[in-house]
């Protein structure tokens, strides 16, 4: 049970190691090989222990985990990345902060709104004005912000 995901990642890297051209591929190949040996070991061990303590681990790791929250946060991060250059820093940031404060902090809407706006102003001040980081302006252009 333990390593369903990791095995797939590992076997993939292994294949890539073999495909690489000989000169620069030597190191990756050796590494891919080592990796696959070790992952086989881990799988073997987890199989061994799984037989012994069947069902004990079933709920262990993911027990009580708020999957919805994790998905929501990850999703909003991806959204942010997608929209950042199209809409611009200020609006995108405001939106993601609204979502995050509400979802993670589970506060009242009014305080969510206030803290989001304050955060946007603060980060804009620090990053754009003090540190002079180039952030995308989006369709509002320089005039908008």
């Amino acid at each position: 049970m333990v390593l369903g995901i990791s095995i797939s990642i590992y076997s993939k890297t292994l294949k890539l190691g073999k495909l690489a051209s000989p000169g620069p591929g030597l190191m990756p190949f050796l590494l891919g090989l080592t990796l696959s040996i070790f992952s086989v070991l881990v799988v073997a061990r987890s199989l061994l222990s799984a037989q012994k303590e069947k069902g004990l681990h079933e709920e262990g790791i993911w027990f009580q985990v708020d999957i919805k929250k994790i998905v929501l946060v990850t999703g909003s991060l991806i959204m942010y990345a997608l929209l950042l250059e199209k809409i611009g820093f200020v609006i995108t940031t405001l939106v993601i902060l609204l979502i995050l404060f509400r979802a993670v902090g589970s506060q009242k809407w009014s305080s969510v709104l206030v803290s989001s706006i304050l955060t946007v102003l603060f980060t804009y001040l620090v990053f754009v004005i003090i540190l002079k980081v180039e952030l995308p302006y989006g369709f509002l252009g320089r005039v908008g912000w």
């Binding site: 333990v2 070790f38 061990r45 708020d66 250059e85 993670v104 952030l135």
Partner: protein, 497 residues
């Protein structure tokens, strides 16, 4: 004396207003994140890494280093007051520190840990200065085979000392090495593992990788369960320890300084290990071992001194050899490399400003921390009331802005989110990120050293074993590996039979 003129020039550098300011910012942020649970020095340093690109390398490293040792100070505060270690190196402090706070002696506990941290930090700096100087003269004679062996040893020990199983840690290290291979091959110029994505041609950036693994996945781990707030009630009186406390603590502080510094030098050692070792040493030699765990001040003074002394020790291999001994040093190495500075034996000569400036900044920084922590302890404690719900969105936002500004491309944000989620899942299954990041940074250097050695020896592997230093290094790493391999084997056999 060259050392004295060197350190003098270092003080000149740190006393420049810019550097002084960034040193202060560094230790301030360090204390802040040390106090706040939920984000550690590694995460913070990777989030702030892009900020350092805009400033001169010496200023950047001064700030990053400040975060590191600042966090060691701050971490003790929460351990003592609320029994929650702000970062891993303060776990031991909880044992006796929290007991002291329960008995109404929170003040002396905080006081002695700040004083001990200061003494340990300063002592290890003096040690660092002299040791790096001599060691780097010696290391000038090292060739690629020696470096290859030392890097192998570094990665193995980090994996060996990892909290989880060695097998998993090794897998993470190998994974890190593979990730380090992504991008253009340094010798032939061929593209590897780029999957036709142009963003990967230059390799995976340190910033998105580190931020994903230590920023995003740390936040995800923290929000997955319903949030619990701890409330702190006790009042703090009498920060200054009394005479009796001092008498009891002098020994532990002296021993803690030595233990911390020596263990800090060893790869993979660092602050966490040294605080544990110091605690067990104090307990063993104490005349009243039964008081430990019930508010013995020795149990606070020793480990807190040791974890700060370890920060100085950890700089030794980085500055003298260019080989980081733990993840934090690896991030510093990454920061220096991005600035085009290669730490190592030649650094004192080629970039004396950075070398001495950083060392001098640590003297100043330690003094700043003492001032920041003793009179203002109440302020830091109040920070604990900041709800996580406000903290985490801010951390996430900083990672987003940081990864974007790193290369002004959305691609890095995606990369970071990807590593964040992967890191989160791996964390759940007991895989540690630290060996991965260390191996990732060492990977390209390791490969280069390996291939240069092969050229030197016309492809004979024996070159690693005919040269004494590389032979010792490699033998040690193989031995470390074999010993745990045997252990694992034995345990599994016992389980089966």
């Amino acid at each position: 004396m060259e050392i004295f003129s060197g350190i003098l020039s270092g003080f000149q550098i740190i006393l420049q207003p810019v550097n002084f300011l960034y040193c202060f910012i560094g230790v301030f942020i360090g204390t802040l994140i040390g106090v706040l649970p939920g984000i550690g020095p590694v995460g913070t340093m990777s989030i702030l890494l892009p900020v350092t690109f805009g400033i001169s390398p010496v200023t950047g490293v001064i700030m990053l280093a400040g975060i590191y040792y600042g966090a060691m100070y701050g971490g003790s505060t929460t351990s003592i007051l609320v029994n929650i270690p702000g970062e891993a190196a303060s776990v031991v402090t909880c044992l006796d520190g929290y007991q002291m706070a329960k008995q109404g002696r929170a003040g002396p506990a905080l006081g002695i840990s700040a004083m001990g941290s200061f003494i340990g930090g300063t002592f290890s700096l003096i040690g660092l200065m002299f040791l790096v100087y001599t060691l780097s003269e010696f290391a000038l004679r090292f060739g690629p085979p020696e470096y290859f062996a030392l890097m192998c040893l570094g990665i193995t020990t980090v994996a060996y000392l990892a909290r989880g199983s060695l097998l998993k840690a090794t897998i993470m290290a190998v994974l890190g090495l593979i990730l380090g291979c992504v991008g253009t091959d340094i010798i032939s110029g061929k593209l590897r593992f780029d999957f036709g994505i142009s963003g990967l041609a230059d390799g995976i950036g340190l910033v998105p990788l580190a931020m994903g693994l230590f920023g995003i996945s740390e936040v995800l781990t923290n929000i997955e369960k319903p949030l619990k707030r701890m409330i702190y009630e006790t009042k703090i009186r009498n920060i200054l320890p009394n005479g009796d406390d001092w008498k009891k603590s002098t020994g532990p502080i002296v021993r803690g300084s030595l233990i911390g510094f020596l263990l800090g030098i060893l790869p993979g050692g660092g602050s966490i290990l040294s605080s544990f070792v110091s605690y067990s040493v104090e307990k063993k030699i104490s005349k009243h071992p039964e008081t430990f765990g019930h508010g013995a001040i020795e149990g606070v003074a020793g480990p807190e001194t040791a974890n700060n002394a370890a920060t100085g020790g950890a700089f030794v291999p980085l500055l003298a050899l260019g080989i980081p001994s733990n993840v934090i040093m690896a991030i510093l190495l990454g920061a220096l490399l991005i600035h085009g500075v290669t730490p190592g034996p030649l650094m004192i000569r080629e970039h004396p400003g950075i070398f001495w400036g950083v060392i001098a900044s640590m003297y100043i920084g330690n003094a700043m921390l003492l001032l920041l922590n003793l009179p203002f302890i109440g302020l830091w404690v109040r920070l604990l009331k900041v709800p996580y719900g406000v903290l985490f969105p801010l951390i996430l936002l900083f990672t987003l802005i940081g990864s974007y500004s790193n290369s002004n491309s959305v691609f890095d944000i995606f990369l970071m989110i990807f590593f964040g989620v992967v890191g989160y899942v791996l964390r759940k299954y007991g895989y540690e990120e630290a060996p991965l990041l260390l191996a990732f940074i060492l990977g390209p250097m390791l490969e280069q050293a390996f291939r240069q050695s092969m050229v030197m020896s016309n492809g004979k592997l024996s070159i690693f074993f005919t040269r004494p230093i590389s032979a010792i290094g490699l033998t040690l790493s193989i031995a470390l590996f074999a010993s745990t391999g045997l252990n694992v084997f034995r345990k599994t056999r016992n389980k089966v039979t």
